[in-house]
Symmetry: C2
Subunit: 310 residues, 2 copies
């Protein structure tokens, strides 16, 4: 369960497709940070990460636990021979990488928490952000890819593997023939709405795209379809949307969220009779309170709850 967190000095590792962020502290308010480019050599970057954590330990005192939130797909089944691995990623050099093992060998005596980057971010928002006190919510990141972490009944959702919500299939906006960029599904959510999709559709990065460009109208419409589906499937009490595209560049975050809320409400057509999905939808679909730090704060939370299982 999410409820039991220990406020102790811990290490946090956020493994992303571009960089590994590392931090040490006991809360988001007293973190020391650093980062390393992810590159294509996992042995090197994981050594940089563990060396830095060791240095911090000498400066700030003994770490009580370490949390790792990583890009995936991951093996999250404690009984499995590849538990703690990044498994079938297309990312060069990273396929079948034993991330947890590398950290475990450097810190053999302390509990280590391991989960997806998006499950970690969901947890970060639960402890220090926008979902505090809720039992059911979803954290979505829209950037290089689209991923989501989900909490149901105060537990992170794992199941068969872990959710891959970015690959859900969506209806097409009438007249939109863009083929999408997902190598597996073409026009799945990620294929239609990730940063690379927006770039391919418009020829511009999200940061540069003018607010009146049609690509923003399509982007927010597809996100709204996806949020409507999340509401139907998981019945969350809140949906948080972060990530680079979620920062919404020149469109502005206010307008981005206003459009998504309006279109989600339209897509649901009042079927689910809850104020949260009608007049209170402004509190239902929100940016992360922790902003771009949700992931690393979540890794810290993973560390602190790992003590429960140790």
């Amino acid at each position: 369960m999410l409820g039991k967190r220990h406020n102790v000095l811990a290490g946090a590792i956020e493994g992303g497709g571009t960089k590994f962020v590392c931090a040490v502290g006991s809360s988001p308010h007293n973190l020391s940070w650093t980062e390393f480019p992810t590159g294509d050599n996992p042995i090197r970057v994981l050594a940089q990460v563990t060396d830095w954590l060791n240095e911090q330990q000498r400066e700030r005192g003994a770490l009580q636990a370490i949390g790792i939130g990583s890009f995936g797909p991951l093996d999250l089944h404690p009984g499995s021979p590849t538990y703690g691995y990044i498994t079938s990623t297309p990312k060069p050099g990273w396929r079948n990488t034993d991330v947890m093992g590398a950290v475990r060998r450097a810190f053999p005596e302390i509990p280590i928490g391991f989960d997806t980057d998006v499950n970690a971010a969901a947890l970060g928002e639960y402890f220090w952000g926008n979902t505090s006190g809720l039992s059911d919510f979803v954290y979505v990141t829209i950037g290089t890819g689209i991923g989501a972490g989900g909490v149901a009944g105060r537990q992170l959702i794992h199941g068969l593997v872990h959710p891959e919500m970015g690959h859900m299939l969506l209806p097409r906006v009438h007249g939109d023939t863009f083929a999408g960029v997902c190598p597996y599904h073409g026009a799945c959510w990620e294929g239609l709405c990730s940063g690379p999709a927006l770039l391919k559709r418009s020829g511009m990065l999200a940061e540069a795209l003018p607010p009146e460009h049609e690509a923003w109208a399509l982007e927010t419409q597809y996100i709204a379809y996806a949020v409507a589906n999340i509401a139907c499937m998981l019945s969350p009490q809140r949906v948080i949307i972060g990530g680079g595209v979620g920062n919404a560049g020149r469109l502005g975050q206010n307008q981005f969220f206003r459009l998504i809320r309006e279109k989600t409400r339209a897509a649901l057509s009042g079927y689910i009779a809850s104020p949260a999905l009608c007049e209170e939808i402004g509190d239902y679909i929100v940016p992360p309170h922790l902003g771009d730090n949700a992931g690393i704060c979540g890794a810290l939370a993973l560390a602190q709850i790992a003590l429960n299982d140790s």
Copy 2:
């Protein structure tokens, strides 16, 4: 959690759009049954139900608990003033009906479990059927409407309201212009694939539709898109599909499931690297072990676990 069931004599009520099924027993193997048409007079049918349960109690001994699995939408929040009500249903006469209160007044001394018909069915399959031992799974019923109950981390999913998976939005099969029958969303999953949708599309009931009719190809394709989305969103270890359309009439259940499995695998394109979604998909998408009795057996299970909270 789902794990704690008490094998005691209990009452079970399955409230459906057409009929209310009632049963008394301690397991699916020793149930006495009856049923009453749902009609448009909740006071009458709920009196019939509670009178019958009282008769059974005189014959078979004191009921230790009662479980109710009902069509919805329902208020499932124990603190709410309308907890235990059917809320915003379009079903004539049933809007804002205090189902649980009617049963509580007749049986004031014993615990009463209350959940959606599909959550109940999911629970029935967990205790006596096809999902025993699993932590994450989904039960889908395709009939007059489409609904689904989900279990994540050995808990039924509730959240804001409860899942309404039948209303997820799906991509269109190229060239299919059928408008769908959902009064809220037109061509959502239920709008495209429920029994009434199949009837409107083909002019025939599922039972009569020839196996080679194009409507079966579309039906199984859209179900496959929906199951692929369920796999991406909830990462279940198994998906059970029941209900009247799930019996598949002249197409036959074997062929119906073979088509859905094949098309789900194609829709996922190997992205989620799990044997369950590739070579073992025959065990992943299955009919209910309890057949049409999953719902009433699930209501019995709701009764038996209600003792935990009492």
